[in-house]
């Protein structure tokens, strides 16, 4: 039996973290850019064409057969991806099959989990799954927060997941890649078919480094499936099934900008700040997510750009119909897309050569020779909590429950300016605290907090402070914002935890930046 964790030490942000997790050695966070491994990348086994069908047809009859042929057995590491989001039908089936075959102690490495995976809690309870390494959203996070998972949860960013697989921190035995479109050789993309989601970037690392690669689709086309976002040369088996995902839960028919006046105000203030700080200028670049406030920021950007006749060189997706209309209107030259949130985005990616799919390798991998995230002028992100040192949390809530994944959030912190538009409090819960429950991002990378009651600029950004010194925007210190929230809401009591740890948060370089404690039930 592997120990869950051991040997706690204090890391560079002052958090106590284990140096052994699930029986494997770990490096505590040492500071940004400090940890540089000297080893070589992980090398997958060499394959030979002699072992694969001469006609290129790797199709087998069922997912079960593919898993058996891939050698599914106790203790293996199984990876999946979240291109189908809450409409994913594959992950649940994989572990149904594992259960049926009596396989135990699997390590599941999803690129993200969704509420639809609540089905898997039974397998965490009966030992089919030992633990999850990947974002745990909603029900799975709640389960793990109460200390019910046998192993430790390991949470990584999208870039951190690529890094961990590339570096051999996570050796994937079998990866199952759900694809909207594929051919029997294993070439696959996310562009065409009923389960279209745009791209398959999150599966890239797994396809390159996993021992066995299975591609599953409900839209099998004759060779060649083009474009091949996943290259069939990495693939062992292909499977055709009735349905891989529930289309309406994969991408929304149409994303909508928030109607909440408070969020619109946050978005408007954020855009105004970017304008006054000189960030919105010809040739600039930005990334703004698909959340209600982020969409609205993009829309305000568009208004400003139209008025001032400014063009952006590129925008980083998550793409959506608003970003696509900016591309089509000529306000941005390129969309570099990491995931697509609505049908308009999928369509544009298929049709428009300037709407480019990317992967966590190009966008986010910290153990590469640069990545795109660092080239972006301004990124708009969210957070559940921020503290007076600008450290931010995206994984746990103020009651201690772990309910969200990291996504690309940590990776995006390397953008030139990082802005978090967040309400000062949510239903009486202050967002700015003395100390965040969990540090997911160090304060030195977070530049501006925009709340409806004031804007705090990180004192390190003297250039921004200078640029905005005559602004009419309500610029305050973060301490003042914290006090304002507490004045309205009252000072919140801290959550009560057990000493036991339930999960660790990895930094983008594979070191451990913080650990999540079990909540007191």
């Amino acid at each position: 039996m592997k120990t869950k964790y051991a040997n706690l030490v204090k890391n560079a942000v002052g958090r106590m973290v284990p140096t052994e997790v699930n029986g494997e050695k770990q490096v505590p966070f040492q500071g940004i850019g400090k940890y540089k491994p000297e080893s070589r990348k992980y090398g997958p086994k060499i394959a030979s064409c002699a072992d694969y069908p001469e006609d290129g047809n790797k199709q087998v009859a069922s997912l079960k057969e593919a898993l058996i042929k891939a050698g599914l057995k106790d203790g293996m590491t199984i990876s999946t991806h979240h291109h189908f989001r809450n409409g994913d039908l594959l992950a649940n089936q994989i572990f149904d099959i594992a259960k049926e075959l009596g396989v135990k102690d699997l390590r599941w490495v999803p690129s993200a989990s969704f509420p639809c995976h609540e089905h898997l809690i039974q397998y965490l309870e009966d030992g089919t799954i030992h633990h999850i390494e990947g974002s745990m959203n909603g029900p799975l996070g709640r389960f793990a927060s109460h200390g019910k998972m046998k192993g430790m949860g390991v949470l990584r960013s999208h870039g951190g997941r690529y890094q961990a697989i590339q570096d051999g921190e996570v050796k994937v035995d079998i990866t199952i890649i759900g694809a909207a479109c594929a051919d029997p050789f294993g070439n696959a993309n996310g562009l065409y078919g009923p389960s279209a989601s745009g791209l398959l970037g999150f599966a890239l690392a797994d396809s390159q480094y996993a021992d066995k690669v299975i591609v599953v689709t409900d839209n099998m086309v004759p060779f060649p499936c083009s474009p091949w976002q996943i290259q069939g040369n990495y693939v062992d088996y292909t499977v055709e099934v009735e349905q891989v995902g529930v289309p309406e839960k994969i991408v929304s028919g149409t994303t909508q900008i928030t109607k909440s006046p408070d969020r619109l105000l946050l978005a408007e203030m954020t855009a105004q700040l970017c304008l006054e700080a000189g960030i919105i200028k010809d040739g600039f670049s930005f990334q703004s997510g698909a959340g209600g406030t982020s969409l609205a920021v993009g829309d305000y950007f568009a208004k400003i750009m139209r008025e001032k006749n400014i063009k952006a060189r590129f925008a980083r997706g998550g793409s959506n119909k608003y970003l696509v209309s900016m591309l089509e209107e000529g306000l941005v030259d390129y969309i570099l897309d990491g995931q697509t949130f609505d049908l308009k985005g999928v369509q544009s990616m298929a049709d428009n050569p300037n709407h480019v799919w990317t992967s966590p390798f190009t966008s986010y991998n910290y153990h590469g020779k640069g990545n795109f995230a660092g080239l972006v002028d301004v990124v708009i992100l969210g957070a559940t909590e921020v503290d007076v040192n600008f450290n931010a949390n995206v994984v746990t809530h103020s009651d201690g429950l772990m309910l969200h994944g990291i996504g690309g959030w940590q990776n995006c912190l390397f953008s030139k300016t990082v802005i978090l538009p967040i309400p000062l409090f949510r239903d009486r819960i202050p967002v700015i605290l003395d100390e965040v429950t969990t540090i997911c991002g160090p304060g030195e990378l977070i530049d501006v907090i925009v709340t409806e009651r004031g804007i705090a600029i990180n004192p390190k950004r003297t250039d921004l402070i200078e640029a905005l010194k005559d602004s009419d925007l309500p610029i305050k210190t973060i301490q003042e914002l914290k006090e304002e929230a507490e004045k309205i809401c009252g000072k919140p009591a801290k959550p009560k935890f057990d000493d036991e740890l339930v999960a660790v948060i990895k930094w983008v370089d594979g070191t451990i930046i913080d650990a999540v404690k079990k909540v007191k039930s």
Binding site: P261, S398, D427, P492
Partner: protein, 406 residues
């Protein structure tokens, strides 16, 4: 003691920043508290203290209190428990939390009233952030947006909101209930720095005078010295005919508003976007206001999604002589402000007046004149407001006086 059960507040999946209280008075057994809260971890303990404190304030020693909390602030929880208590016990005692320092500002007769944001008086979630959208005024509404059975608890919530919620400088207005029921609302408002009462469906000067008497009595009782202004809302054919009489009923009447939903219903006609059916009423009210030198305020525009139509609507409204209108959504505020904004010639005139005033002050002159014309202080005041507004809307630069120096 009877075992009657009282309830107050709101609960449900969509309810935020509110709570639902169930109170049962008992003969023995002490206080039993049951708390279910979305913010239990952060505020569970302080909520228990608050519940105990309110009950003990009313001398309740044996009771069961169930609090279902959706992230309510203390001022909301306290109002809900007080409402429960008052349903079961006859008492005039008021459980008051602090009137926060930020809420002690006053308003003026002359101030701009372009926008006033309606906030349902029994919905705390909409009150908390109302001020950040910078309307000229906020209206805590006790009338149409509050269900008949919730009238009493809304009085307490509005009272606590006036004391504890920061509206960031907006004029603090309350729409009371229709005469004569609205007279009962007044004592929950006057001692808590309300700036203005909106008097719905007003049909005569006698109503205003009776209301004023009541206000005066409470002002004396609570030693309130600030004026409480009145904005009667004309919403019936009779009210329109008596607009002048109502406008001149008291010096505290600083504006008349028109309510078109009820007015068109009273006429028995459909309310249209072109508003031809209410043209007479609107011009009559504007005229009554100008005759008495008070502000004429237009009805709300109810299509919250259509900002272009709102813009058009404001233009027409301004053209008729109205000086403000109601908002039912914060996004309407900016559009209304921009559309009521002073026009170029208006700003130019104000610049000359203010510049002359500053010149005169600098030269130690008691009288301000422009050319051969003397300028009265109210004209200067109004011009200053126009300049201030033009500045805040970004229509002129901070250094606008430079053009007068050469």
């Amino acid at each position: 003691m009877s075992n009657k059960i009282a309830t107050a507040g709101n609960t449900g999946k969509k309810v935020r920043s509110d709570c639902f209280v169930t109170l049962e008075l008992r003969d023995s057994g002490g206080i039993e508290l049951e708390l279910k809260s979305k913010v239990q971890v952060m505020y569970g303990d302080s909520n228990i203290e608050l519940c105990k404190d309110v009950l003990s304030f009313y001398g309740i020693e044996n009771a069961k209190l169930v609090l279902e909390d959706s992230g309510a602030l203390p001022l909301v929880i306290a109002a809900r428990i007080e409402a429960g208590v008052k349903e079961l016990i006859d008492t005039d005692k008021e459980y008051l939390l602090d009137l926060i320092g930020e809420n002690k500002y006053t308003s003026e007769k002359e101030q701009f009233r372009f926008s006033r944001l309606y906030l349902p008086g029994n919905t705390p979630s909409m009150m908390l952030n109302a001020g950040i959208h910078e309307p000229n005024g906020i209206i805590l509404d006790l009338e149409d947006s509050v269900a008949f059975t919730k009238k009493k608890e809304a009085q307490l919530l509005v009272r606590n909101a006036l004391r504890g919620i920061n509206f960031y400088g907006a004029e603090r207005m309350v729409r009371i209930n229709q005469f004569p029921k609205g007279l009962e609302d007044v004592k929950y408002l006057i001692p808590h720095n309300v700036h203005m009462l909106l008097v719905p469906k007003c049909e005569g000067a006698d109503q205003i005078q009776e209301l004023e008497q009541k206000i005066e009595k409470i002002k004396k009782e609570y030693n309130v010295t600030n004026p409480v202004y009145l904005m009667p809302i004309i919403e019936s054919a009779l009210g329109v005919e008596r607009a002048f009489e109502i406008a001149s009923a008291s010096e505290n009447v600083v504006a008349l508003a028109i309510g078109l939903e009820d007015y068109t219903a009273d006429l028995g006609v459909k309310r249209t976007n072109e508003a031809v059916e209410s043209f007479y009423a609107r011009t009559r009210i504007v005229n009554a206001c100008k005759a008495t030198r008070i502000q004429a305020i237009d009805s709300v525009f109810s299509d919250v999604g259509d900002m272009e139509a709102l813009k058009e609507n404001v233009k027409v409204s301004k053209g008729l002589g109205f000086e403000g209108m109601g908002c039912i959504h914060p996004r309407q505020i900016k559009v209304i402000h921009e559309s009521f904004a002073p026009e170029v010639d208006e700003i130019e005139k104000a610049k000359k007046v203010v510049n002359a005033f500053i010149d005169a002050t600098e030269r130690g002159l008691g009288v301000v004149s422009l050319g051969t014309k003397m300028i009265d202080p109210p004209v200067v005041k109004r011009a200053e407001k126009t300049i201030h507004l033009a500045l805040s809307l970004g229509l002129i630069e901070e250094n606008w006086r430079d053009e007068f120096s050469n």
